[in-house]
């Protein structure tokens, strides 16, 4: 992957995303959600998107705003239904969005497999359940497993805490969640960070996502939301 581009605006960061793209969107609920990149993507106009994310949006910010703008054809996620997922719920009930539910750990591991060049792997998760229907099963050493395939993105939109000028990333607390995995699994990884710092200022031992996985970085104002009604 060629050297990371540091861009001035979120609009530049999401430039060129084509209609019909598969986009991995970081975040667990609202922690780690790349709000500015998604807002820029809405302005950019790409439609007919397939989104891979843990949830299907909260309230009307971030991913929910993209759904509300009717840009998403299909979503692969583990947990669409939440206290404040009314945008998704309505689209789904009206048949205006396709849903594929993937257990959370398989979702993460399938993206990891894409990034790690693994062709497929046998997972014990979901064995014997409706989500294993139609999937290849094998017993290995007396344990039952389901064969799972990689999930790749054309793009990943994620957020991180800091980037250096090379594109090395560190995250903050549980906002790390899917970011480091998605960064490895997309052809083009686009990151919004709270801060860009000079190269050499991040501890080499503590870099979570090496710059090789990062294509475009933009610094944005940190926006924080918590899920209303979570308990």
């Amino acid at each position: 992957m060629a050297r990371t581009s540091i861009l001035a605006t979120s609009e530049q960061a999401v430039a060129g995303i084509e209609d019909g793209s598969t986009i991995l969107v970081g975040g667990f609920g609202l922690a780690g959600m790349p709000f500015d990149l998604i807002d820029a993507l809405i302005l950019q106009g790409a439609k007919d998107l397939t989104i891979v994310a843990n949830n299907a949006g909260n309230a009307e910010v971030g991913l929910a705003a993209l759904l509300k703008a009717k840009r998403v054809r299909k979503i692969l996620c583990s947990f669409p239904r939440q206290v404040d997922s009314y945008v998704f719920d309505e689209l789904y009930r009206e048949g205006k969005i396709e849903l594929e539910v993937v257990p959370q750990g398989n979702l993460a591991e399938r993206m990891r497999a894409a990034g790690a060049g693994i062709g497929a792997f046998f997972s014990p998760t979901a064995v014997g359940t409706p989500l294993a229907e139609g999937k290849e099963e094998r017993t290995i050493n007396g344990m039952r497993y389901i064969l799972e395939y990689p999930i790749r993105g054309d793009y990943a939109l994620i957020s991180a805490h800091q980037s250096d000028a090379l594109g090395n990333l560190v995250y903050r607390k549980t906002a790390r969640n899917f970011g480091p995995v998605m960064a490895t699994a997309a052809a083009t990884t686009i990151v919004q960070v709270n801060e860009i710092i000079p190269t050499g200022y991040l501890d080499a031992e503590s870099i979570v996502t090496p710059s090789i996985y990062v294509d475009r970085v933009v610094q944005t104002e940190a926006r924080h939301y918590t899920v209303k009604g979570a308990r």
Binding site: F28, A31, N54, Q104, G105, A108, A126, K173, H224
Partner: protein, 220 residues
Amino acid sequence: MTADTSTRAPLTMDQLAAVIAHDIPEGSYVNLGIGQPTKIADHLPKDKSGTVNVILHTENGMLGMGRKAEGDEVDADLTNAGKVPVVETPGCSYFHHADSFAMMRGGHLDVCVLGAFQVAPNGDLANWSTGKPGDIPAVGGAMDLAIGAKDVYVMMSLFAKDGTPKLVQACTMPLTGINCVSRVYTDYGVFDLGPDGARIRATFGITPDELCAKVAALHR
């Protein structure tokens, strides 16, 4: 075993949480599922210095999760699996989702406590979907958690709102995992699941005979 089988009344969910907390060995690594099981955190035993010697895992990427955050402690970047803001404990660590679920899938956690719609004596668990048409399916980490610890416990009310037992001879709702639950904690009793089916470990406010009469999946 700590629960007094001569309890006068069924336990409240808070009392049940205390029973479970007492049964978790010191030094354990534990994941408490969303919903009722999160109550267990408030009852974990403390040592002389006031330290809880159980380390909580939250599947969104943390070991050493602390209590709910209050007021100024709230940090949108630090939540539990239910998306509730929490705090750190000393020695906590963060990791990404693939590493977090590898930790569960690899069998490194000691105990996981989950809610349930139905459990069967063979350890089958149904807790992610009622299977009703029109429901939006949403599994989250439920299927990973169901196989995600050396011991998987269920915490639930023994009877559904319509009075039918949730400990059933065979689950009729969509399964979350098979042969995965080793113990069931309910307001009326605690049951160990094993090769011989469900064995009564304790009862609360009811006799074993009365319980067996009400719950077909139980037998003496």
